[in-house]
Homo-oligomer: 184 residues x 2
DNA sequence: CCAGAATAGCTAACATTGTTAGCCTGTCAA
DNA sequence: TTGACAGGCTAACAATGTTAGCTATTCTGG
């Protein structure tokens, strides 16, 4: 069951969708089994007929998140003159448009066995391509983007900080690096 | 040296120290008011005689964390030929040496009114200096370092990823950028 | 030197959380 | 027709942070 599940039943997908709505509307505090059940017109224990526990529910939400992120990335790359800039803008916008979802997707260690297979890779692929297939550079760039994003969401920068400028400086730095092809 | 919180009573600082030990030993799940009390030889409600709630307790732990981080940074810069490299290595080592503390320090929005005054700035100062006083560049660099660190701690990179190489590429990118003096 | 306040512990209890056990009802295949 | 099972339900449990209210010790002012 735990090995290659992630094949959610239609009802489980429905529940995950409602959970995502609830998360976005009320934040992580609001995402309780009882509140979710109420939104579905059922009682909390009934959720367990469709999903083993809250971790699996969150994994289902995260899978939905990766799907949407991948779609957003794909849309950003269509006819973009500079892929890296386009990707960065969409990355940032996605996180600001869905802050609770973004936090849930990134804040913890990820139990990948609970995820829809391949969905994480699909979201990561455009970043690799945007830096010319250099895996190390892609990881560094992703780390920068995530760092900027999460620190911004968590208001870790000073209130008067010019974050557009910080993004720009970082992207310039990574753009100035020549890609090296490495194993893939 | 480690300037301790003037707002905290000695007993509260003692409790925060025990809480930090508990956190590092057992992780965030283990940091409950009852377990902390047990470690102190008292009962949970007694903690509230010294700290208003768990948020304040965590803020006290975070303040301790910033102090230690600042000390580590200061140590790293003594007689370092390349400040940025030295700082990055110590940043990474601090997080790996105290993963639960690092997560607690960075994972949430920060209620700065609960923090020991000035301690956050003291930890951030060396980074600003290492990039030549360019605030935007310092923020971008910090974002990169935090991104790499937290993604590494949370095992978000593929297991076979060469993270030393990713760090190197990122640091090279930032090193190649010329600092611009801006307002400070 | 004593009275009262402050300090710092205690027990009992509460609401909320995720979760389990066990029951019931409708649907549908054998 | 019957029996499995899908999917709901109620009741309950343990753990969590937290509050109320009691008590014992210590400090302090007159």
């Amino acid at each position: 069951m735990t090995t290659t599940d992630a094949a959610l039943t239609p009802r489980a997908r429905e529940i995950a969708g409602a959970a995502l709505e609830l998360l976005e509307a009320e934040g992580p505090e609001g995402l309780t089994m009882r509140r979710l059940a109420a939104r579905l017109g059922i009682r909390a224990p009934s959720i367990y007929k469709h999903l083993p526990d809250k971790e699996a529910l969150e994994a289902a939400i995260i899978s939905l998140g990766f799907e949407r992120q991948a779609d957003a990335f794909a849309g950003a790359l269509e006819g973009a003159d500079d892929p890296l800039t386009a990707l960065a803008r969409v990355y940032r916008e996605f996180a600001h448009g869905h802050p609770h979802l973004y936090r849930l997707m990134t804040e913890r260690e990820l139990n990948r066995t609970l995820l829809t297979p391949g969905v994480e890779q699909r979201a990561a692929l455009p970043v690799h391509e945007a830096v010319g297939g250099d895996a190390d550079l892609a990881r560094a760039t992703w780390a920068f983007a995530h760092g900027m994003t999460i620190l911004e969401l968590d208001r870790r920068f000073p209130p008067d900080a010019d974050l557009d400028a910080a993004w720009q400086r970082g992207l310039d730095a990574f753009r100035s690096v020549k890609p090296r092809r490495n194993r893939d």
